[in-house]
C-alpha cells in the first residue's frame, strides 16, 4: 500500500493475555520503528529495525516486550502477560534510512482490562 499499515486498529484484552501487533511498512523502506503513545503524551521509542536486525532495542520497557521483522518488511510487536500499564497506542513508522522522514501508521489502540 501507499502508507504504513497497522493491525488491528483496536485491541481489547484481559490482563495476563498475550497480544501481537502487526506493522506493514512502506514498500522499500529498510528502517522500521515502534513507538508507544500514552494518552495526551508524546511518543516513546521502543525499538528500531534496519532490515531484519534490531540494532536499538533500548526502549523496550521489559522482557515481556519483543519484536521481530521478517523479509525486511512486516514486523510484529508481541507483549506477553499484558498489564494494565501496557494500555496505550502503539505506533509503527518506516523510513528510507537515517535522517530521512519517518512515516507513521495510525497505530493500534491497546486496552488492557
Amino acid at each position: 500500500g501507499a502508507g504504513v499499515s497497522q493491525s488491528p486498529s483496536n485491541k481489547v484484552t484481559e490482563k495476563g493475555k498475550d497480544v501481537e501487533l502487526r506493522c506493514d511498512p512502506i514498500s522499500g523502506h529498510t528502517a522500521l520503528y515502534w513507538y508507544r503513545q500514552s494518552l495526551g503524551q508524546g511518543l516513546e521509542f521502543l525499538i528500531y529495525f534496519q532490515g531484519n536486525s534490531a540494532p536499538d532495542k533500548s526502549g523496550l520497557p521489559s522482557d515481556r516486550f519483543s519484536a521481530e521483522r521478517t523479509g525486511g518488511s512486516v514486523s510484529t510487536l508481541t507483549i506477553q502477560r499484558t498489564q494494565q500499564e501496557d494500555s496505550a497506542v502503539y505506533l509503527c513508522a518506516s523510513s528510507l534510512g537515517r535522517r530521512q522522514p519517518q512515516h507513521f501508521g495510525d497505530g493500534t489502540r491497546l486496552s488492557i482490562l
Binding site: E44, Y48, D106
Partner: protein
C-alpha cells in the same frame, strides 16, 4: 537529562492569521529535526524536516526555523486554516552513531483555529 520540549501546551489563533509553534531542545548533538501534525485517532503526519546544516526550510504554507545557538526550533504556518487544528510535535534525532536512529519527541502542543 537531554530533552526536547515545547514552550506552550496550547495555542489559539484566528483563521487566516499566521501561527508560530516553538520548541526548545537541549541535546547539542542532534543533527536532524522533524515537525509532525497529529489529528485525533491518527498517527503523526510528517510536515517538514530540517538538518542542522540549515537555518531555514520552507514548504507549502509552512516554514521551519532552526537556531542552533539557542537550541530553538520553530514551525510557522501561514494563513492558518481550520484544518490545521491538531497537536503538533517536534522531534530530534541524534547525530549518526550507526545504531542510533530513534526520534525523541516533545510532549506536543495543541493548535486551535478560531473561525
Amino acid at each position: 537529562g537531554e530533552s526536547v520540549g515545547l514552550h506552550l501546551p496550547t495555542l489559539s489563533v484566528q483563521e487566516g492569521d499566521n501561527s508560530i509553534i516553538n520548541c526548545a531542545y537541549s541535546n547539542s548533538a542532534s543533527d536532524y529535526f522533524i515537525w509532525y501534525k497529529q489529528e485525533s485517532g491518527k498517527g503523526p503526519q510528517f510536515i517538514i524536516d530540517i538538518r542542522s546544516n540549515m537555518d531555514k526550510r520552507q514548504g507549502q504554507r509552512v516554514t521551519v526555523l532552526l537556531n542552533k545557538t539557542v537550541k530553538h526550533l520553530s514551525l510557522q504556518i501561514a494563513a492558518t486554516q481550520p484544518g490545521d487544528s491538531a497537536v503538533y510535535f517536534c522531534a530530534e534525532n541524534l547525530a549518526n552513531t550507526g545504531a542510533n536512529s530513534k526520534l525523541t519527541f516533545g510532549k506536543g502542543i495543541t493548535l486551535s483555529v478560531r473561525p
